[in-house]
Amino acid sequence: MYNEKVVDHFNNPRNVGDLPDADAVGETGSFKCGDTMKLYIKVKDERIVDVSFQTYGCGAAIASSSMLTEIVKGKTLDEAMQVTNQDVAEQLGGLPPLKLHCSNLAADALHNAIAEYRKKQEVAGKG
């Protein structure tokens, strides 16, 4: 059902866990299927220098989360905002059609994390 790359990311997920000194955390969930993802980012000079995730979900959801962390590590926040759920699925070499919605969490969590980071920066700038 899943290709080797997906299975590899599921079995050996990259960047798992929380980041104790994260600058922002993005959370997202699918009410319908119940999947939940938390994405932690550490930012330096507008660049994602570290990233990690925690995911509750199926194989596709876990593999997508892992792949996303690989894609965005080292990217600037602007570049990271351009990453789509489709990019994640493509980098994984494709997902079964029924499983595409499971991969939709990853980029959403990332965008939420970046939005949170920017909001924090804004508040800090004003203060």
Binding site: C33, G34, D35, T36, C58, I62, L98
Partner: protein, 387 residues
Amino acid sequence: MNSREVYMDHGATTPVREEVLEAMLPFFKEQYGNPSSVHSKGREVRNAVEEAREKTASALGASPGEIYFTSGGTESNNIVLRGAAKKHEGFGHIITSAIEHHAVLDVCRDLEKEGHRVTFLPVDKYGRLDPSTVEDAITPETFIISIMAANNEIGTLQPLEEIGAIAAKHNIMFHTDAVQVVGQLPVDLKKMQVDFLSLSAHKFNGPKGVGALYKRKGIKIDPLYRGGGQEGKLRPGTENVPGVIGLARALELSVEEIPHKINTLQSLRDKLIEGLLKIDEVVLNGHPEERLPGNVNVSFKYIEGEAILLSLDMEGIAASSGSACSSGSLDPSHVLSAIGLDHQTAHGSVRFSLGRGNSETDIDYVLEKVPAVVDRLRRISPIRRSG
């Protein structure tokens, strides 16, 4: 890939046993005649099909004339429910349960759309139906009651004898989808007072694509198909001869072995349940005692079923799940929802269904592998126990 293979998905399907395959093979080769033909090539096959019908009937305590061969459980269920509705004059009322297999549930939903009224009875937290709710649901328009013998996901057995007595008292037709029970537990048609019973060969080490319907003598329903008049015109079409031969042989063997098999499977089942419940935050789904001898269904909290299945598969263990992601739909299983599980607990469900060939070593192997799988996935999960 792991070299060890532990198959614990017998509720999905079972391997064809050697004796069954051997019995079937001649009917692919030299005994290829059409049972409806007049010549000897046909007549010898007719005799074999009728012998298979007799064996099937005797394994169930029925008469040969009450056995109709079909393509499986789904077709048997459709023939009964749609056939009874077709025979019924005007729109009537059907009583069934909320946890039926889709081959009953979805037929009932269709009949509802077509104008019949359907009551989907709720079950308790173990998946048991209260027979008094059946009696309370009966109306003058009720023409059929359809209740499964045992649930395919959680293994809960239904009080069929009590429901059968109620149906008989009110003179309403009674059907049971016994796909999960036939060949696993003794079936007593008289005690259950059923008018129809569906069964499927591949659930008891027979071939796929063949099943049977028991229809009590004298009970009338309309056929869904028209054709050459085979199977008492109820299921026309040239017989699946090798399949029918395989079904009868598999049924004969599995029914013979029931007394011995029940104890073996139950003790393996209970050992597996006991071991799994030792893991933190695991709950048993279904009834603790009134369950199929080979059914184990548990929910692992904070992790998702499909991810568990994939991880188990890497260890060579085959199981199934009622999670949304393993079903291909977005919703968790209707059975787990009907017994009151919240979405998350339903998503973390895994069914291990034991059968012929499973041994104590298999149970030990599964119990050795599962804790690590659960631990790994819980480490990935953001959901933590509260408090």
